[in-house]
Assembly symmetry: C2
Homo-oligomer: 458 residues x 2
């Protein structure tokens, strides 16, 4: 059987097995590598269904890829086989403002959806850092979130229905177009975050939200990262639900000031950027005041602004952070390992202290930032990639960071997912629940063709 020819027929010629092209599909934003044998470019649900039925029959691994912006190797075909590049299924199929929903194909780029929704006064809230390039299918498969999710919730809160192709090619709908429905097992939520291991998403009905009309930014500096962590609890206890809540430790701030010496950031400590939003200017003003007073006692300085130019400058700087780390030391590169810890909010000061303790012992400089309103602690570890010893240190640091998060009652991944990068911690993280995940995987993908080597499942 010539798999290439068969797959080529199914996808009407949209296939490649050229070595140079396959290399483009061998990586994502993580350190995980793995080359596919074929890349196919389906255009319809029926084509996806035929590809899966064929792969299932011939036991060929199938990995689904959106834009490849993942940070855990979720879309990397570590066992070879077929890579489904979903980028040609990228249409907005309908915008139903009166039903507060849209129907889209999985290859649609996230920002494109929000640009299209803006004139209607609506938006799709989950906003991962990669929104400019990542796809909606990838967002769903990894339950992506981002800065706004502290107020608006993660991707799973917005998925009403998914069209999914199962391992054997069967097409199902996981939900309905209703905003609320209570009809047995919530299969939509099971597929959100399942990283392509249970089926291939070919269509999604998503709830949308009215765009807030007013926003205000409150930038607060604290004398210690512990105080910065504490501020989050205080703000919530004051009854304010901020629309963003980002921590940047002293190292992160110093990177930004190296990038732009005039950047509007306080130089006197660890910084938390809060944002409040709403449909009323007065409400936003009041929330900002309430938030500032909740933090006053434990902070060094407070800046409140609704100047759009200043706000843009501050948020642009924050968004640059992940990439800008090289400014700290041009000989070093940031590597995404141990980068996505999460803890209950009260444990933030402890987690932050632990990151400094571990990296200090090992001799790596960390940068800490993240969505602290959700308990997310992004750790940036950077090394000289030509130095083998530094790679070893990095692995040890990442391992200890993951274990420290679990020990604090936290999570090895707050929002980036497990992929092939964190599978080895699943048993420790999930305990006997991991057995339930394995059983579900075995039931829905008995031949193990769907994204093998991920989630620690195989």
């Amino acid at each position: 059987m010539d798999h290439y020819e068969e797959l080529k027929n199914i996808c009407e010629g949209r296939i490649t097995a050229a070595p140079a092209e396959l290399c483009c599909y061998a990586a994502d934003g993580s350190q995980i590598k793995g080359k596919p044998d074929y890349v196919v470019f389906p255009k319809t649900t029926d084509e996806v269904s035929q590809v899966l039925a064929y792969a299932n029959k011939h036991l060929i691994p199938v990995t689904t890829r959106g834009a490849g912006t993942g940070l855990a190797g979720g879309a990397v075909p570590v066992r070879g086989g077929i890579l489904l590049d979903m980028s040609q299924m990228n249409q907005i199929l309908s915008i139903d403002i009166n039903d507060i929903q849209v129907t889209v194909e999985p290859g649609l780029v996230a920002d494109k959806l929000n640009e299209t929704l803006k004139p209607y006064g609506f938006f799709f809230p989950p906003d991962p850092g990669s929104a400019a390039t990542c796809t909606i299918g990838g967002q769903i498969s990894s339950n992506a979130s981002g800065m706004r999710c502290v107020k608006y919730g993660t991707t799973k809160n917005y998925v009403l229905d998914l069209e999914v192709v199962l391992a054997d090619g069967t097409v199902i709908h996981t939900g309905t177009n209703c905003l609320k429905s209570s009809i047995g097992y919530d299969l939509s939520r099971l597929y959100v975050g399942s990283e392509g291991t249970l089926g291939v998403i070919t269509k999604a009905v998503l709830k949308i939200s009215p765009l807030p009309k007013f926003r205000k930014l409150i930038m607060i500096s604290f004398p210690s990262p512990e105080n910065a962590g504490l501020s989050v609890s205080r703000v919530f206890a004051a009854g304010v639900v901020p629309s963003a809540c980002e921590i940047l430790d002293k190292t992160s701030v110093s990177i930004l000031t190296k990038l732009d010496p005039d950047v509007i950031f306080p130089r006197d400590g660890d910084v938390v950027l809060f944002e409040v939003d709403g449909s009323s200017k007065n409400a936003v003003d009041e929330s900002a005041e309430l938030l500032a007073s909740a933090c006053e006692e434990i902070s060094s300085s407070i800046l409140i602004t609704d100047d759009p130019v200043k706000m843009k400058e501050i948020w642009d700087a924050r968004r640059l952070l992940g990439a800008a780390v090289s400014k700290l030391d041009p000989t070093k590169t940031r590597i995404y390992v141990g980068e996505d810890l999460g803890v209950p909010i009260q444990k933030l000061p402890q987690m932050i202290a632990k990151v400094y303790e571990i990296t200090n012992e090992i001799g790596i400089t960390p940068m800490i930032y993240g969505h602290v309103g959700d308990g997310t602690v992004h750790v940036g570890l950077f090394i000289d990639v030509l130095d083998k010893d530094e790679w070893k240190k990095l692995d040890i640091a990442a391992d200890r960071l993951h274990l420290a998060a679990i020990e604090l009652g936290g999570t090895i991944s707050s929002e980036h997912g497990i992929g092939a990068a964190r599978g080895m911690y699943m048993e420790k993280q999930c305990g006997s629940a991991f057995g339930v995940m394995k059983a579900i995987k075995k039931t829905l993908d008995p031949n193990g063709i769907l994204n093998p080597g991920k989630l620690g499942l195989s």
Copy 2:
């Protein structure tokens, strides 16, 4: 083997098989009946685990019951066996305001949780009509919602972690205490709404929300139920997310006026009660104005009030509605069948028209109310329960209503669940996805002991 004695040993004497007592467990708020053989009252997770391991070995059905307020027979032991009465596991185990969460046992009464949280300025938003008596475990098992969910979301949005006992007695944790976590399959969401068919919940970690400080009620009457339905889309399109959005058709209003001739309800049409809430008085005022103007063109009258006495009176009247229906005709009783339809918002006018058409043809008077902001259409059908012909009519009406909802792209249950009452529509509603549900059930409960006869699964 004497099951009674074995179970008695496990639960340290907390068991009954007295016929009169068993009868008390043979029903819920629906028409479904079924008597257990034993009722046990576990006090610990370990006892639940031992009961399940025993039942699994001896193939005895196990049905879990909170307060028995369900409306679809979910907690009714239709195949006999063991009934787990969870009411003695009813403690609030911890209140962690700084982590924005609580840990509770499943037998805790919902309102009790909110009374306890009130002094802290927080609340657990999902608010089914039965909140005064229903339990948190029941809320989770049925993904309960209610009036506020249009803004705050349903129970599933608030479950961070569940301790669950599986069919064989294994205890798992489905999540973490983190506000955000991305670690493989979302088992918490799989268990929410699974109606006791996949395991028994013994503990829950729930996210809570800051209590809004201000509320305002906007009562709007419309010349037709279609216009009332339309108002919802208009309000959302205006950028307002109301904290409640309840429709009461002309019949519902007439029932309330019969109950209390002075009740503050307009007599000139179908009514929608909107509420807006927030942490700022100005914001709430502005939202109320915006909402009112969005509806002005299509409405007959608008009343805006933040007078707490008036608001209480109006909401109390709304809450009485389900029970007060007998006032329309004292010889008739409301029966909960076909009562929980849902459709995409734009289809509300069509669904409402369809309810009138079907009930008119069959000769039953309907009352329509519900959370229209979510597309929920509660239909009250009432009959003379001594008249066999009326029962037949009722069954025909319910059947046609369910099918009509499916045809409109809607759902047979918006929030009450499937239980034993709606299982026969699952295949039609879910299509091939129902096969996935069956496969998951078979995997996690191979002997079929967990709440058999529910969700159409067995």
